[in-house]
Symmetry: C2
Subunit: 309 residues, 2 copies
């Protein structure tokens, strides 16, 4: 797995070769089922992920786990501690576990995650699990990458969970009420199911699964719910939506590539004349950007200088 | 204020004229002091903002307030309800209040906020207050725009506040312990002061101010702390850091401009040939992006088509 780890590190660090790597491996992608796991801190996501890994392994599937550690001060949650518990699976060659973290830019994390998922897919993983601590736009945009999003809640979540539920409803494909032995779990389930029935008819309606991940209970039902959603995705696939998805992905790839090339070229000190004038405060950033973009050779030089070697 | 409101709406909607507007008003900027107010939901930020407005008005300063309503489902907090309380100031022509919200992209919100702040600055506002509900990377990047960041906490915040404190420490220039009549406020103040003293010597050390915003107590001390920080900024300004800041701003402006132009052009259906091949699944997004970027005329056409009319 040495080569894979090195490639992931390159993508995580947004190396200039990233787009070349992706271009090469792209044809080998499209096989994996990508499962997003999110929910408030303390809901038991990592324990659930651990159980899911074991079940998928027992079914003969290879599994990769991407744990997103947002370095945002607001994220909370003992992510590192949770990771340690996953060591159960470290010696199984059918399980690949990797934590990735933000390096400043949130856009960078989303892009890196998207590309690392493609890479894990191209490497032949059957199941790819993305786990995030569910707070913030960055984590939401990462859940966008999942084929099936599992939202994990707990009965006693109180206020904050109430607040979050409304939004989590929109992104959930499967709800898990974990720690279901605790008081309030039936009410929680009923509430979630009520909300699910407000979704438009004809579309997917997320099942609500009760689990006690610590006691290994209810995990088969989660696996079944994920499988059912995958089957539904397969059957409801249509050409127009696929074309839409591809266009969206292309815009994302193109604009991030433009952005990253420009940033690299600027950091490397290319475009010295305009930059020197900006630094000295002689030229405002908007005038400088317009001049650079509108001059055919400047923009070309900039984008090429920021590209792969 | 009709013209200002219309310009803000254009920036908020990322109209293609945005960069032209900014280029024109840029020379008139640099006068305002930008104050960021953040902290967990329920800390009393809006009440505090209300009090600060009244004080600054009494000092003869014009004030603009930008309330960031992240449409993120995770944000929580009764932002709209809080807004209503600000109606105290709606009839004062020296106070301009505006809520702005995300429209999908988090990068878009950061950029719009940055530019709206510039606009409010160019319009002659002495003080610009940016208020966010303090969760997530988007809000963090918005606090980056402030000259002085005020972090508002409450004694009884419990766990979540404990978790958040570590990160809030890093961005705070002034701490406010609001609802200081409640139990635990002295301990909270002591903890915050302890953390402040872990900062490197010689730099700015955030004062911790106790307030009861509802009772209008401690507000003068907040104003004084903000003023002291402003003075510190003025005295510690140096040429190298200014050049660094300008370069950083230029990269942000340039890359967002590239991104937005490309996105607009693509949405308008330019580059039909490559896009058609991507839609049909004949060309993967990475190959398509590389071809587009490496072809001199394609990239030029794309960027011009996405530019202002």
């Amino acid at each position: 797995m040495g080569a894979l780890a090195r490639l992931i590190t390159m993508l995580e660090n947004r190396a200039s070769e990233s787009s070349v790597i992706l271009e090469r491996i792209y044809p080998a992608t499209g096989h994996a089922h990508v499962i997003g796991i999110t929910g408030p801190p303390g809901a038991g996501k990592s324990t659930l992920v651990n159980r899911l890994i074991a079940k998928y392994r027992a079914l003969g599937k290879s599994v990769a786990i991407l744990a997103i550690d947002p370095s945002s001060p607001f994220s909370g949650g003992a992510v590192l501690g949770d990771r340690v518990r996953m060591t159960d699976h470290y010696k199984d060659s059918g399980v690949y576990i990797r934590s990735i973290s933000t390096r400043g830019s949130h856009g960078g994390l989303s892009r890196a995650t998207r590309e690392i998922v493609k890479l894990l897919d191209a490497y032949g993983n059957d199941v790819i699990i993305i786990e995030t601590v569910g707070v913030g736009q960055t984590e939401l945009s990462i859940m966008d990458l999942a084929d099936t999003t599992v939202v994990v809640t707990v009965p006693e979540g109180g206020d904050s969970v109430q607040v979050m539920k409304a939004g989590l409803n929109e992104i959930a494909d499967v709800f898990v009420v974990n720690k279901a032995d605790r008081e309030g779990s039936d009410r929680m389930k009923a509430e979630l199911e009520h909300n699910v029935h407000l979704r438009p008819a004809g579309g997917w309606r997320p099942p609500v699964v009760m689990t006690q991940a610590v006691a290994d209970q209810g995990i088969d039902a989660v696996i079944a719910a994920i499988g059912k959603h995958r089957e539904w995705l397969r059957q409801s696939r249509d050409g127009a939506r696929e074309a839409e998805r591809r266009t969206h992905e292309f815009i994302e790839v193109l604009t991030s590539e433009l952005e990253e090339r420009a940033e690299r070229a600027l950091k490397a000190g290319t475009v010295p004349d305009i930059l020197a004038r900006v630094k000295a405060g002689e030229l405002n950033p908007y005038s400088a950007a317009r001049r650079l973009i509108e001059d055919r050779d400047s923009i070309r030089e900039l984008l090429q200088n920021g590209g792969p070697k």
